[in-house]
Structures are given as structure tokens and as C-alpha cells.
């Protein structure tokens, strides 16, 4: 049974790494803009987890403050990003990330 009293902080960091990787892969593979956005949120959460783990490790509250800010900014970002997605999909129903390719050189 798992009875260790304190978990090695490295495990948290490892979990964060795994979550981040999964979010990155999802971002690269999915085409639905909403799902891509959710993958981004996944990555941000992984980062938050890492920060908190390190805050605990280094006994520094500053890490938690950073998480706080990340949360705020993520919220703002979601709002604006979803507004953009709405505008795009309204213009072209059924658009995916690959349809927005006007920057082709």
C-alpha cells in the first residue's frame, strides 16, 4: 500500500510535465478551435500545478501569487479568445483551425 507520509515534490512536477505534454499534443492534433482552446487551458493548469509544487518545495508563497495571476490572465484570455472564435465561426459556419490560413506566404 502507499503509506509514505510526504510525497516527493518531484512527482507533482512529473505529473505537471505529463499534463503539459498531453495538452501540447492535443493542440497540435485537433482542428476544432474550441477543443484546441481547451488543450491550452490544460497546459496552463499543468503550469499552475508546477508553480504550486515548487512554491511548496522552496517554501515561497510567491509561487502561489504567480498562480493567482496566471488564473486571472487565463480568464481574460478565454473571454477574448472565445469572442474571436465566435466571430470566425459566425462568418463561416463549420470552420476549423485549418480554414484560417490567410497568412500563407
Amino acid at each position: 500500500m502507499i503509506t509514505a507520509a510526504v510525497v516527493d515534490p518531484s512527482w507533482y512536477l512529473g505529473l505537471g510535465a505529463v499534463l503539459f505534454t498531453m495538452g501540447a499534443v492535443g493542440l497540435l492534433v485537433r482542428r476544432n478551435p474550441l477543443v484546441m482552446f481547451m488543450c491550452v487551458e490544460l497546459m496552463l493548469n499543468a503550469v499552475n500545478l508546477t508553480f504550486v509544487a515548487l512554491a511548496r518545495q522552496l517554501r515561497d508563497v510567491g509561487g502561489q501569487v504567480v498562480v493567482f495571476f496566471v488564473l486571472v490572465v487565463a480568464a481574460a484570455e478565454v473571454v477574448v479568445g472565445l469572442g474571436i472564435i465566435v466571430s470566425i465561426i459566425r462568418r463561416r459556419p463549420g470552420a476549423t483551425a485549418d480554414d484560417v490560413s490567410l497568412l500563407k506566404g
Binding site: 509514505a4 507520509a5 510526504v6 505529473l15 481547451m38 490544460l42 488564473l71 481574460a76
Partner: protein, 195 residues
Amino acid sequence: MEAAVFAVSAVIAISGAAGVIASRNAVHSALSLIATLFAIAVLFIAQDAQFLAAVQVIVYAGAIVVVFLFVIMLLGVDRSEDLEEEPLRGQRPAALVAGIVIGAGLIAVVATGTITGAHGAGAAVRADMPNVEQLGRLLFTDYVFPFEVTSVLLVIAVVGAVLMARSRRVDQVDEDEPVLDLHAEDRADAVEEPA
């Protein structure tokens, strides 16, 4: 005790993440995301970041994912994405390789890194003060400027969202016109946009 908590939460978080990236239906993805967020909130509590856990649940799970669900329902559940095919050549293999390498790299960083046990440079965690109070103290002293700036950021975000989400008249919208059209209101008679 903590290990058990960690194990369970980790499993939930990872399966939630798998659900996000692998679900065909966007709503399923959103719900999987909620599961992950909750698991992470539990992990926050386990690491003595109680305030953050609360904020995580309220803001992230309770507001952000809800907004996601609103948009999904507004736009209709999208079925145009076919998970089987990949229009961009080499994207999927490249993505897998990138993912594996990043993951391996990050884990390598964690594994090879040494923990010296030194304390951080910032404010130390104090056992006698509640977590909220410590956070608050820090926010309003050392980090007050970023705090104010983020409030401005929120205002900007709200303004931007409102502007972008305004409805347009269909007949006067063309492909090359920029998204932001300040004179759309002044144009002649409008035709209600079809639903």
C-alpha cells in the same frame, strides 16, 4: 495519506486530459476538462494552497468551462472535424514526436535536477498565518502593481469581447472586410441575420 490522495488525483487528471484531447464531441471534451480541473484543485489542497484550490474551482471550473459550454451551444456542436483524417501532411507524426520529446525532456529535467533544500528568495511560508492571509499580504504589498495591471487587463478583455461579439448585418459583410466595423450601425436597412 498524501500519497494516496496524489495517486487518485493523478489518475483522474490524466484520464480527464486524455478525454479532452481524444473526444470526438466538444461537449465531452469540456466535461473531461472539468474532471481534470477538479483533480488539480484537490492537488492544490494537498500542497497547502487552499485559496488557490478554491479559486480554481470557482473561476476555472465554474466560470471558464461554463463559458466554453455556452459557446459550444451557441454555435452548435461541431461535427465537421473528422478525427481519422489529417489534412496537413506529417502533422500527426510530428506532433507525436514533439510531444514525446517534450515530455521526456521535462521529466528528464525533473529527474536529473537536484533538490538542494534551499529556500526560495521570496516571502517564506509561515505556519502560523492562514494561507489566504499570506497571499493577501503579498498581493497588496510586493505585487500590488501587477495586481492593478491585471485589473486593467480584465477591463480590456471585457471591452474587447463586447466589441467582437456584436451582431453584424449579413448582407453588408464581405470576405475582405475587417472584422471590426465601426460604421456598421450607420448603414442602410438591416436584414436580420439568419439563425
